[in-house]
Symmetry: C2
Subunit: 384 residues, 2 copies
Amino acid sequence: MNYFSSGFKLGILGGGQLGKMLLAETRKFDIQTYVLDPSAEAPGRLACNVFQQGNLMDFETVYNFGKQVDILTFEIELVNIAALEKLESEGIKIYPSPKTLKRIQNKGIQKDFYKTHNIASAPYQRFENANALKTAISENKVLLPFVWKCTEFGYDGNGVKVIRKTEDCDLLPNVECISEEMIPFKNELAVIVTRNVSGEIKTYPVVEMEFHPEANQVEYVICPARIDDAVAEKARKLALEVSKAFEHVGLLAVEMFQTTSDEILVNEVAPRPHNSGHYSIEASYTSQFENHLRAILDLPLGDTGSKVAGIMVNLVGEEGHSGDVLYENMEAILGWHGVTPHIYGKRQTRPFRKMGHVTIVNEDISEARKIAEKVKKTIKVISK
Amino acid sequence: MNYFSSGFKLGILGGGQLGKMLLAETRKFDIQTYVLDPSAEAPGRLACNVFQQGNLMDFETVYNFGKQVDILTFEIELVNIAALEKLESEGIKIYPSPKTLKRIQNKGIQKDFYKTHNIASAPYQRFENANALKTAISENKVLLPFVWKCTEFGYDGNGVKVIRKTEDCDLLPNVECISEEMIPFKNELAVIVTRNVSGEIKTYPVVEMEFHPEANQVEYVICPARIDDAVAEKARKLALEVSKAFEHVGLLAVEMFQTTSDEILVNEVAPRPHNSGHYSIEASYTSQFENHLRAILDLPLGDTGSKVAGIMVNLVGEEGHSGDVLYENMEAILGWHGVTPHIYGKRQTRPFRKMGHVTIVNEDISEARKIAEKVKKTIKVISK
């Protein structure tokens, strides 16, 4: 297949920041792209060949969009799967496949999948709704405290809650959910796996999510993770196992816990470019976005190794600020070694909205960590 | 000034590959861009906010385009300078300035500039046309052999000829020209200098152009140049001198000769991103394109140092092939370590047309050189 400066067409469902960063790679290779997103202001409206505005959950919209392209991918899991299945049955190639997406979209099904495949993950129970969960608690079938997760439509920590007493359940929406045992962990780790259509597989190095000591928010994604080689090797092996079980095509970001006893448990996966891999644009020989593209086009995978250490800081809207965005102190951080801001292109900021990220690369990871902390303290996403 | 996700508008004259690669940076920072190019198929027609088709040498077209933006830059020297001067007089910021462009656009004026500023460069004489040159040869005022250069509209080696005997002159167009003494040189070197509006200056490392032993064509641009540190330091200092003399804003690519006696002479300069700096996208902490943007927006300059060694190979159309382009053996080269192709997006190939480039990065420069040679021998730009 000839993809480069040819009549070949790639479709991308979703034109958010992940779609936008993927488009940087399709431009580099001059691959024709079609993007579908509900917002006329989507970051991915530029740099594609054709942008279409439409609802990603609507059967007709997704089906008609997909009929125009040769290969279809997505940057968001919340898309109409029935339309994908029909497109696939009609010969459109879809990577990752609707089958992979179905296994992941519902967290209950995802947990069952790990169980079936003997993949280490926290013990859990599935419930049709919050009422069923409450009954189980009252019957001591679920022990407090535990982690509640809604099975669908959660993102960025939405749809996850620690339940410490029965009354905490009163605030839960009455939707399908799971309860998960609370596992005491030292570190949250992630490994991005890339797998092409022919089955070639490569893993990126293990990254570490460093949390704010009080706010319990991820502050830094650090590559490589500052953990023992043996633990890193265990995490990488587990991620490979997960990848092989799913037989996905494209990227699979595997989020994991390192327990206090150095066990590694799978938390959850995402079959697409992932926040934990953004550092790769500046730090890796091949970025996660380029490797996603290579994988779904069945090209040889690029080297997932790093040129230098990389740390990523998310740029989220400050509390108390809504409206036209202003990136305060950008000039200051641009003056520091190895600092690259990525501005996603959302005109309006809101508290905690993901507006961009900053990568800090350095030959010396502890130096990168110091600069990352300065970046974090300096730049502010506010409104005008 | 607030550039990021704001109402600020940057204009770019020219939408060729340099414009296209600059747009990758404006997307990263979400800076609004307007692009003007004569071709509806220009590589830079995508990833800008507004694309306009028009003649870059036409006064009205350039003037009307410039009136819409806050800052104007260019990726090609062949633009209407009178329009730029009028725009500048009306308050539009233009970087590099029309003054810099005027000093460079005509090679006779450029050579005079070096003389006035005591910048080492090959001895030369200026002529109004080929007839005046022939008279000077007949009067022994110009000695054979020498290098003939037309003063305007040359590019990529066009407009440069070695004259060995008087009759060689008969093939020259009767245009303004210079004669330059032939200097025996060991190496062709280049240094890219970036200078922002406030006058902050940084230089990229010295790169080396490696020529094909027979065809006398640049085959590889190698960073860092494999030369003595003392020679590299001399080249870097000379490039800085040139930059300070021009007081340019944005990039200045300074091409130089290393003579057989290790003197460094300026050959010529280009006030824009340059082929000799393409390696920086993968190898440098900050690419030449990002630093051009930072410079013209008066932001702090990024680090010009390298993460790893980089070698660039141009992808030019094979002889005997014209028509819809096909990149033969792309899959092979994508499988090798540190290889990144850039496909500019020209649908039609022609013999020697610049269609793209490939960067090879590696921790070990001699390893990179070996892979670069394999790449050069493997990939072919042919027609379907």
